[in-house]
Symmetry: C2
Subunit: 321 residues, 2 copies
């Protein structure tokens, strides 16, 4: 990953990775140290949590979620894992196996839920039954289950593995539409409110190339394949757009995201609609909601009544490759 002969900025040993946005190369040890420092800085700057908090880390088996679980455990945080089986064919079976192997190898506690076993549906079926995009049905399901698992397990914070590329791509999408309410809520940490737990994204200062390198250097085996249902979505287009900008002008991507958080988010703070409205308990599951049945229970009702839809049937032309 580094050009041959390049040296670590910190110790002059042979470098294993070049980071154009830092205009430097690093050996394995100093690269890992850089990752730890970037995560520490995010946790501190945005007041995410401390070592007295019980953290629930949402893990998918991909590089980002395994990297942040590893980083938090290594740093002495109380971090359990939480895995949701989404029923996306082989992809879900494999992702579960990666998560379980990682947890077992380090004797970590893993909480699991399976949409099909526990709620009678899966993401392909939900997408078809509710006429939603798969990523929308999936996101709704995961957010609900993260919140519920944190509430039921007495966790203080839900941690997700969103990295700088993810957040910058979402920001670009929100900026292209100037969706003020979404922009106002796009923060690395959201406080607990209305019965929803606190949420934190400690990887926002690391790119996906960096989390992949973290896993490689730490010997973490992760699922490389992207979810087949996300192929061709707009989020990936925005990532490519930002990568092209970054290529022409290194560090543009982090400046775009971090300057937004520093300079723009405070100006937007008052614009986040106190969307709470009249929050009460969902009649079916008890989760906080502004409607009789929460959106998740409505999705469960619709999707679990539908005949199971195999993932192949829902994949668009682009998804099939």
């Amino acid at each position: 990953m580094a050009t041959s002969g390049s040296k670590c900025r910190a110790c002059k040993a042979p470098a294993v990775i070049d980071l154009p946005r830092h205009n430097a190369n690093f050996c394995a040890d100093h690269f890992l140290q850089l990752c730890r420092r970037q995560v520490d800085k995010a946790i501190d700057d945005y007041d995410m949590f401390d070592r007295s908090d019980r953290l629930l880390v949402a893990v998918s088996g991909g590089k980002d979620s395994l990297a942040i679980w590893d980083l938090l455990v290594e740093a002495g945080y109380q971090a359990d894992g939480f895995y949701v089986g989404l029923g996306i064919g082989d992809y879900s079976d494999e992702s579960r196996a990666y998560v379980e192997r990682f947890a077992a190898s380090r004797s970590l506690h893993l909480v699991t839920v399976d949409l099909r076993d526990d709620y009678g549906y899966d993401v392909p079926t939900a997408a078809r039954a509710a006429k939603r995009k798969p990523c929308s049905a999936c996101g709704l399901s995961k957010r609900h289950l993260f919140d519920r698992a944190a509430r039921e397990g007495g966790y203080d914070v839900v941690v997700t593995g969103h990295n700088l590329d993810d957040e910058a791509a979402v920001l670009l999408g929100n900026v292209l539409r100037w969706d003020i309410e979404y922009l106002a809520r796009q923060l690395p940490v959201l406080p607990a409110a209305n019965g929803f737990p606190k949420k934190a994204k400690p990887l926002v200062r690391l790119t996906e190339r960096e989390t992949a390198a973290w896993c490689l250097l730490r010997g973490i085996d992760y699922l490389v394949e992207e979810c087949p249902m996300s192929s061709g979505n707009r989020h990936l287009h925005h990532k490519n757009t930002l990568n092209a900008i970054e290529q022409a002008s290194p560090s543009s991507k982090s400046a775009f995201y971090l300057n937004f958080i520093d300079k723009m988010a405070p100006l937007l703070a008052s614009q986040s609609a106190a969307a709470s409205g009249d929050v009460h308990d969902c009649e079916q599951c008890g989760s906080p909601t502004t409607t009789e049945l929460c959106a998740f229970c409505r999705l469960v009702d619709t999707a679990s009544a539908h005949e199971p839809v195999p993932v192949e049937l829902v994949l668009g032309r682009r998804g099939r490759r």
Copy 2:
């Protein structure tokens, strides 16, 4: 420009142009009508000027400035032209010829200034002498001369031909850095203030493809070549980025710019630093400034004392092609 056999949305006659962002094709007459309406809408929505105002239109010989001059005169506005000879080799000689032919063919009044003849320097020399980028030396010179010409000629508004592509590209650059003060000032109209004239950009609702088509259909001969000194600059990269986004998702570009003006600019209005400071008259030229000598007079002093630099010497590798 339209696919063969396509029909005008308004009259079903054979179309001459397709506009994916409007999801429609148009015949020549209805395309020209669309352009007029978009310009009328910009003038009205942003309260730019009316037919009692004397307008000074900054013209370069390119499609945008000749199109807006044509549109304004056709619509009955009092619009004179203003041309600045920048001394950028053959490019400037040609651009001047296009402007003069256009003005002469329609018996329009054209005010001209020449940097070399009137101020003893040109853009390539200024760039070298002041160690500025050529686009920076050029922009400073033009802004000053537009303002001064408006003041001395008793014009109410300076009109420039910035189109949707220009404004969206500048917006993208400002957003990538979250330069709040620049964002707050990026408006289609700036009121007169501190001795500076009102400024308006009536083409912000038309793309450069549309202004080119306007010229083509109206028989306006314009300089197609871009300024050789601008080649490879970041503004062009941002235009390409937005074109790729537009290609994947038509009307993204106009949504990006127009939603910014509608939804974001009002939130930023209070953020525009009252940069006025202590404004007084420049000791040398009498223009409003916060320093003893205004930035233009300082540039004139430096650049006019420097031996003339031929344009070829200042062109970067990318500029030479």
